[in-house]
């Protein structure tokens, strides 16, 4: 397996550009300033992890990149073009369960594939089975969604997001519902898929260790309003083991910073 030691942000053109993004949610009872002046770039093939307390706008940011939500201010571009709507090149793996209960597991994975032109039925089927195999659920392809455990559903959602071969994968706390062992297995899978298929991945998590294990960069957010607080480059060789000592050093450091500003926030 290839090891990536250089930070691709410095050598490759930007895949995603976000400049001075702001977003407000206005409801009848209150106005929430979800994102405030968020600016960053993500290089092609980069793996970026977003970390921050609950409510700091991480999901909102992913939705904006996906084109499902519009920013109130600022610029968001993919491949140099302003994002005006969703597209199969930027797929989201949602935080909440989003599999379609009226389709089987296979039907769910096929859904996105059927929306791509020029793929024959056999090819679709092959791809769907390949990705189900990848997440270890080929045996369950004819099962109904409600017959799967929470973690299995997340794996199907991962297969569904991977199958149309998007160049940008937006993952919103995808492994929140999984046990530690399955997670570790999927960390390996994700890193392999990422390096083999050269995907750009934006990955939201609450778990700092997970972020350090996966990301080329870890971006820390703070809430009220959602802002970028700090950025950390993680120049560790890959594939990374979540239990390694080097990794622990980074995650301890980041956790310290995170705790620091969460506490000042509470104190203030």
């Amino acid at each position: 397996m290839a090891t990536t030691e250089v930070n691709p942000a410095k050598t490759v053109p930007s895949k995603l550009v976000l400049e001075h993004l702001s977003k407000w949610f206005r409801t009848s009872t209150l106005t929430v300033h979800a994102l405030d002046d968020v600016t960053f770039r993500i290089a092609e093939g980069e793996f970026v992890c977003l970390v921050g307390p609950s409510g700091c706008g991480k999901s909102t940011l992913l939705n904006i990149i996906a084109g499902l939500e519009r920013p109130d201010r600022g610029l968001v571009q993919a491949d140099g073009k302003t994002i005006v709507g969703p597209g199969p090149h930027r797929l989201v793996m949602f935080q909440e369960a989003s599999l379609f209960p009226w389709l089987t597991v296979l039907g769910n994975v096929l859904f996105g594939l059927k929306l791509i032109n020029g793929v024959s039925a056999e090819e679709r089927r092959e791809k769907a089975e390949y990705f189900l195999e990848l997440v270890g659920l080929k045996k369950f392809m004819h099962s109904n969604v409600h017959e799967l455990s929470g973690g299995m559903k997340q794996r199907v959602a991962l297969a569904r997001a991977l199958a149309p071969n998007p160049s940008v994968l937006l993952m919103d706390e995808p492994f929140g519902a999984l046990d530690a062992l399955t997670r570790e297995q999927l960390y390996g899978d994700i890193q392999r898929i990422w390096s083999q298929h050269r995907k750009t991945i934006v990955f939201v998590t609450h778990n700092v260790r997970e972020a350090v294990c996966l990301g080329d960069r870890v971006i820390l957010f703070s809430p009220n309003p959602g802002r970028i607080r700090e950025e950390f480059a993680i120049p560790l060789p890959r594939p990374r083991d979540i239990n390694s000592v080097d990794l622990a050093r980074y995650s301890t450091e980041i956790t310290r910073v995170l705790k620091g500003y969460v506490q000042t926030e509470v104190a203030g």
Partner: protein, 256 residues
């Protein structure tokens, strides 16, 4: 499975036995409460001379046409009211209001507009079905968790594709219960119409019921009522139940 069938069979046997005993006890005049045997005799003779078969055909044909029209118009209108605020404020409010109107209330108007024709009967059936179908469809579409359409949009689904591949299937459980309710309403309105509207183009079950009353033939009245119940049950078990079972299996909503 067999035990369930046996239990159900026993229940109905007991029911008929109780009926028989009540007749034997002479509590009510046999003119008001005929014995199950005379009802069975009526049904037998009506089956043999063909009146029952013909009336059933006439009624079911009207039912299917009226119900079909109701669905054909009601489903799209329900989708419209769920997707556009303007349609909701207009068609939606109209449907909500007219839905509360018992379908028999359409009979005088239908008679004045269409006279004693087939069209009058169909009109009443459509009016009886349409509004509740619009409401059910509208409700079904509104109840869909937004995450489904978001997920579909993110995968590149738009417009018509989203409607046919996401909104409709996601709303299917609600659509089905709406269609079941619509079917019951269609029956109700057709029977009301047939009892009140005498026409020469076809003699339906409602007419048989009506003439049974005119002739004081209680065995005919009860016999026809039984037939109506049996048809209703048969349609439920053969048409709706399999779809319902499929939905329960897929969605995991079945109760064991």
């Amino acid at each position: 499975m067999i035990a369930r069938w046996l239990a159900a069979g026993l229940f109905f046997v007991l029911l008929v036995a109780a009926w028989y005993l009540a007749v034997k006890a002479h509590i009510w005049s046999p003119i008001l409460l005929p014995s199950p045997i005379s009802v069975a005799d009526y049904v037998k003779s009506a089956v043999e001379d063909g009146t029952l078969w013909e009336a059933t055909q006439v009624t079911v044909r009207r039912l299917l046409i009226g119900y079909g029209l109701g669905i054909l118009v009601g489903l799209p209108l329900g989708l419209l009211t769920a997707s556009s605020r303007w349609c909701q404020d207009t068609i939606g409010v109209l449907a909500l209001g007219l839905q509360t109107l018992p379908s028999v209330c359409w009979v005088p108007l239908a008679l004045l507009w269409f006279g004693q024709t087939e069209a009058a009967l169909l009109f009443v059936v459509v009016m009886g079905t349409l509004w509740s179908l619009i409401i059910a469809t509208d409700h079904g579409v509104r109840t869909i968790p937004p995450i489904y359409t978001r997920a579909a949009r993110s995968m590149g689904s738009t417009g018509l594709h989203t409607w046919t591949h996401v909104v409709l299937p996601a709303a299917l459980p609600f659509l089905l219960s709406g269609m079941k309710q619509g079917w019951a309403f269609a029956w109700r309105s057709l029977m009301a119409a047939e009892i009140y509207v005498t026409i020469l183009t076809g003699f339906g079950l409602g007419h048989l019921l009506h003439y049974g009353r005119e002739l004081n033939a209680m065995d005919q009245v009860i016999g026809v009522m039984l037939i109506i119940v049996v048809i209703g049950l048969a349609v439920d078990k053969t048409l709706f139940a399999p779809i319902e079972q499929f939905l329960h299996r897929r969605w995991g909503t079945a109760r064991q």
